[in-house]
């Protein structure tokens, strides 16, 4: 046995990590200091205030839907009306997210083949990739404000199209990345058998790609439901506009009902979508085992 023939090496220096860590903390502190009107001294008020709002929200949620809330202009209004209205608007949010996702999926799928390094030459690839990156960099709300609201007016189509265009960028990027990571073996085999570009895509690339891509679409749908809430602030459809009005008006009981509807519908859609994604990616057997 080679015992103690080699000398013990010294440990590598630790100071680079220390310096990097201190620099990071320094940046964060500088950022905090730069926010002159952040009013950090108000931070301790948050737990108490949030607790108080939450209590009122829970009150609203637990009140019998047939009861009439206090202080409303319309004496016939019930809590039930609030529930129905929230459900209807949340339905609109889900619908516009779905349509937006469809637009994104339908446009991004063919474009992705023109952007992947194994299916397109560089002079096609560059402009398409730049297009994907450019639309990804513009937040939905700006697309809505500048392009969609003038076109469609203050209604859900504007929100759906803003989400749709933005989704083209992110779905396009995900799809092109998965095209680039497919197994090249089958493609090579098809090329060796004399296939054209289109035949190659159709028989060797798309079959490998499809499950993952459909899973991306479903995932994007989940993201878009959340994104649709913000578009309501500029009145581009969905539950966001009313949520904005109600919470700003500090109508916590009403707001609580809306938040519960949002949480419930979002989790429900997430669960369905996650189950579908799992089924698509792993097949029936794996799904049965997981269940």
């Amino acid at each position: 046995m080679t015992r103690a023939t080699a000398t013990r090496p010294n440990p590598p220096p630790k100071w680079p990590y220390t310096v990097a860590g201190l620099a990071l903390v320094g940046v964060v502190l500088a950022a905090g200091w730069s926010l002159e009107d952040a009013r950090w001294e108000r931070l301790p008020q948050f737990p108490g205030a949030i607790w108080q709002y939450a209590a009122q929200m829970i009150d609203g949620v637990l009140t019998w839907p047939g009861a009439h809330p206090d202080g409303q202009a319309d004496p016939d209004l019930t809590y039930g009306d609030w529930w129905l209205q929230a459900l209807k608007l949340m339905g609109e949010s889900v619908a516009l997210a779905w349509i937006g996702t469809c637009v994104g999926a339908l446009v991004s799928f063919p474009l992705a083949f023109l952007a992947a390094s194994n299916t397109a030459p560089w002079f096609v690839r560059m402009p398409v990739r730049t297009f994907f990156n450019a639309i990804r960099a513009v937040p939905e709300i700006l697309l809505a404000v500048i392009v969609m609201l003038p076109l469609f007016g203050l209604n859900p189509m504007a929100g759906a199209m803003a989400i749709g265009i933005h989704s083209i960028g992110s779905l396009g990027k995900l799809t092109l990345e998965s095209i680039e990571t497919i197994d090249p073996g089958p493609v090579e085999a098809v090329v060796a058998a004399g296939a054209t570009w289109w035949q190659r895509i159709r028989t060797a690339v798309i079959p490998q790609l499809l499950p993952e891509t459909v899973a991306f679409w479903l995932y994007r749908f989940e993201v878009n439901i959340r994104a649709s809430a913000i578009l309501g602030v500029v009145s581009a459809g969905g539950i966001g506009a009313l949520l904005n009005r109600v919470l700003r008006g500090r109508e916590w009981e009403w707001g609580g009902i809306m938040l519960v509807v949002i949480i419930f519908v979002t989790i429900l859609v997430d669960q369905i979508s996650a189950a579908l994604r799992h089924r698509i990616l792993h097949g029936a057997e794996a799904t049965a085992v997981a269940a």
Binding site: A6, T7, R8, P12
Partner: protein
């Protein structure tokens, strides 16, 4: 625990098994006693069927058999990674089944283990990996901050020196070859200052010369420190070369138990269910 625990271990060999053995102390090897031990997995498959064995302190035992014969199960019951469903199993006088909760880590600390896949945290340095063998002796706060005492580092260095890889101490584990990684894994187990050493197919992922080297290291450690050693091997050939005693397993039962010299071709047939071919010899 003294810093040079590994060094004086060899001298203590004579006092053999002493206490309940959960202090990871510096008595040589522990005995391992299987008394009609059975293991049935939750999915209903049978791991061990009524195994009875006595392994003496300081013995070097090789368990052979086909995959699925129960070798892995046998080794993993010893440190409680696989729970025993029936029968009694004791290590150094401590009944493994009765050890639960916080006492289980202490029992395991006294038993080093080496795996087929090395199971190193490959992103970390060799030293960090070996020091994980000292975790059992570390306070909560120290393990949070990743601080180690001088004594622990000394033990880790000695373990690395024993397997002859000390010059790689600060290299990332992922940069080492398979054989080097397995030696780091041996050093990690040694750093526990164990009384029992388990090895589950330690050479199955290595080429023959490297495999030989690893087996030689294990054998040498067993001789020097008197640590009771149980090694699983797929092939009889290596087993014959290194073992004091061979245990052959088939379908969860012990079909052969005797000195390595007795393991002839007939025994081979009993274990593997077929006769020896040229292919088996060369591996």
């Amino acid at each position: 625990m003294s810093a040079s625990g590994l060094g004086h271990r060899a001298g203590d060999r004579s006092d053999g098994r002493s206490d309940g053995g959960s202090d990871g102390g510096s008595d040589g090897g522990h005995s391992i006693v299987f008394d009609d031990v059975s293991v049935v997995y939750p999915n209903g498959s049978r791991g061990l069927a009524g195994v009875s064995l006595t392994i003496s302190p300081g013995e070097f035992v090789v368990v052979v058999g086909l995959s699925g014969a129960g070798k892995s199960t046998l080794v993993r019951t010893i440190n409680g990674l696989v729970p025993v469903t029936a029968g009694r199993l004791s290590v150094g006088g401590t009944e493994v089944k009765s050890v639960r909760g916080r006492r289980l880590p202490r029992l395991r600390a006294d038993i080093g283990m080496i795996f087929q896949g090395f199971n190193l945290v490959t992103r970390r340095s060799v030293m960090s990996n070996v020091l994980t063998g000292r975790l059992h002796a570390q306070s909560w706060a120290r393990s949070l901050l990743g601080l180690h005492t001088k004594a622990d580092k000394e033990i880790a260095f000695e373990a690395l020196e024993r397997v002859g890889i000390v010059e790689k101490a600060w290299v990332r584990a992922s940069e080492l070859s398979g054989g080097q990684q397995q030696r780091v894994a041996i050093a990690r187990a040694l750093a526990q200052q164990p009384s029992v050493m388990l090895a589950d197919e330690p050479v199955a992922s290595l080429d023959p010369p490297t495999a030989d080297r690893v087996m030689r290291d294990l054998r040498q450690i067993n001789r020097d420190l008197g640590i009771t050693t149980v090694v699983n091997l797929h092939f009889l050939d290596l087993a014959r070369r290194y073992a004091d005693r061979i245990i052959g397993m088939r379908a969860g039962e012990v079909v052969f138990d005797g000195p390595a010299t007795d393991a002839d071709d007939a025994v081979f047939e009993r274990i593997y269910g077929r006769s020896l071919t040229g292919e088996d010899i060369s591996t």
